[in-house]
Point group: C2
Chain length 372, copies 2
């Protein structure tokens, strides 16, 4: 049995005990992957406070999961009804007939919630509670091997941005820019991606710029934001570049943004909070005259997911998170997610960093220049 | 004002009236796109029974959405608290102070549900109900222009499979196979994708084979399943191919699968139900000796989403859907989603078809052969 998972399950049990949870019923792949080594859709993991794990997976997937995952019990099911009954049998097998079952409130839809709390799944005397803060607390400080995986993903992200920027030309679509980045990242070892954002021209002003068929024009700003997944871990890297000559306003905003971003990165250290970092970055952007152009929280965690705990306190409600504790060595943070949105254009630069005992190290290494 | 959206909103109002809903609060991009012409994450649309539309979007996105969408009111918000207050103001503006508000129970997580039903968002005297069946009923029969968009997406899917198959070689990773398909699809006009599945060798036996770093070996089966998005519409195309010589068992299973798939496609006609089609395909596969290898429902709808209503009745609980009505001309169906999973390998072939007054037409045209 793998010591990594035993150790994680022991930590999980202690956090569950403090939170008064008797078992977890997980369906979010990222959480299942962390605690068992395998995470996939249409599957579940039941984890007891004592560290026992039961998996339910599609009947087709039993052999594949058995090769990858750490678990005590595994059941293959044929359909949703089978899944419901398997959950019930696993809960009874572990003696979870009363007490509190932790569920992922930031992942379960109303329909999935109805399924997992159906009386044929969850015993009626078992109550449910949100386990999101527990999983966040568990995954927030990265083990050295996790940091190394994120570093590898950061290297793949750099290759993606390099490939895309080297191919940029007037007339190319945003989607084709994404194609160059993703192709290069898959060649470099990415198994998959979280969404690749590419926006250009006036579309650099929007908050979540998924690529479209818009064709690049001379003088356009272009924003590209990539999140490869390599060996199950991600990284977050965003660059803004200009096709031609930026206006002096754009160049100034970019320079001001970089100064604020670097100062915020430099402030990462054990004991500091995400709120402290956000306040610093926003203050510097306001001081350089961009107070009206800031949108969104500048800091979030990175790991198995490209956006995970610690999450920004202002967005706590949306993500179902409570106040985040102070940063410790091993916390991985993306800095620069806010962006400046001036009206007809925007700039954003984002890098992935790890907090260390001494301060921090930036894992994403692509140059931060507006005109390459 | 665009007649397409006015017409859709009128139909929506009639369905809402039958279901006793006074307004909808939508946050699922596919539903917002259908009713307004724009769908994006971190945004909402409120739709009244009388066909009025209010949009709330990130403050950065107001100009972009205004250029694309049909609406009566639009508000930009700075954060989640702003979003909650904007929802409340729009509901009050439309006079929704009591009655029933439809929400997307198959999309809203517990946390998002808590946000949109927060007393600062939804007036306390307004009750909520699941609007999923309403949106499914609304989107199920495609307009001719929608079918043409799905046909275009089907052509792009074909280009993706062609590109991937032409590059297959021993030693290539599954992720690199996905890279070839996605690159070609973006070149051909795809703005984006739903997940590309690529599995090989023993991994062809799993139900949802996301690509990994596994390298192709001589004699491997390879399953590739693509879902490009072009002009907002998708298509579903899956092929299984063999690197080298398939075993006689594999070749027989593939041939039997094709016969069952084609017979099921041929049975598509107005008046038939998804349950009828599923029963036919499963019966043929059982009759040819593959009863133990079938996994999953063979039929689902295709449109803005690659998997949408009509959804298979066995999976109704998971998707939050009720029994689906009989097929009408204009319903677009993927046939072949079940697959045969023999143990160490699997085969699956999937095509997108439109029901017509006369019968059906297949929109995906890539050849169905095991050894190209």
């Amino acid at each position: 049995m793998d010591r990594t998972y035993r150790h994680r399950l022991e930590r999980c049990g202690r956090i569950m005990e403090n939170a008064g949870l008797d078992a977890l019923l997980l369906t979010k792949p990222a959480n299942m992957f962390y605690l068992t080594g395998d995470g996939r859709l249409c599957a579940y993991a039941i984890v007891t406070r004592g560290g026992q794990v039961a998996l339910g997976v599609p009947a087709t997937d039993v052999a594949d999961v058995s090769n990858r995952a750490h678990f005590d019990e595994i059941t293959g099911f044929a359909d949703e009804v089978g899944m419901i009954h398997a959950i019930n049998q696993h809960l009874r097998h572990f003696g979870v007939g009363r007490g509190t079952l932790g569920l992922e409130y930031t992942f379960l839809t109303q329909s999935m919630m109805a399924m997992v709390t159906h009386p044929h799944a969850k015993p009626e005397s078992v109550t449910v509670a949100d386990a999101t803060p527990i999983l966040s607390a568990l995954r927030m400080v990265k083990e050295p091997a996790e940091v190394e995986r994120i570093r590898v993903a950061a290297g793949v992200a750099t290759k993606g941005i390099e490939a895309a920027v080297s191919k940029l030309h007037v007339g190319m679509t945003e989607s084709q820019v994404a194609a160059e980045a993703e192709y290069a990242m898959r060649q470099a070892g990415a198994e998959n991606f979280y969404r690749t954002y590419v926006s250009s021209g006036p579309r650099t002003n929007i908050a979540h710029g998924l690529p479209t068929a818009r064709r690049l024009e001379d003088g356009d700003l272009l924003m590209i934001d990539v999140h490869p997944v390599v060996h199950g871990y991600s990284a977050d890297l965003c660059r803004t570049t200009c096709l031609g000559r930026p206006t002096s306003e754009q160049a100034q905003a970019f320079d001001d943004y970089l100064l604020a971003q670097q100062a915020t990165i430099d402030a990462i250290a054990p004991g500091v909070t995400v709120a402290d970092l956000e306040a610093r970055m926003h203050a510097m952007l306001r001081d350089s005259g961009h107070g009206d152009s800031i949108f969104g929280p500048p800091i979030h965690g990175v790991g198995i997911e490209f956006e995970e705990a610690p999450l920004p306190p202002d967005h706590a409600f949306f993500h179902g998170e409570k106040d985040m504790p102070a940063i410790q060595a091993g916390v991985v943070l993306s800095v620069g997610n806010c962006g400046l949105y001036a009206g007809g254009w925007g700039v954003r630069v984002e890098d992935t960093n790890v907090a260390t005992a001494e301060g921090r190290q930036t894992l994403t290494e692509y140059p931060r220049v507006l005109t390459p």
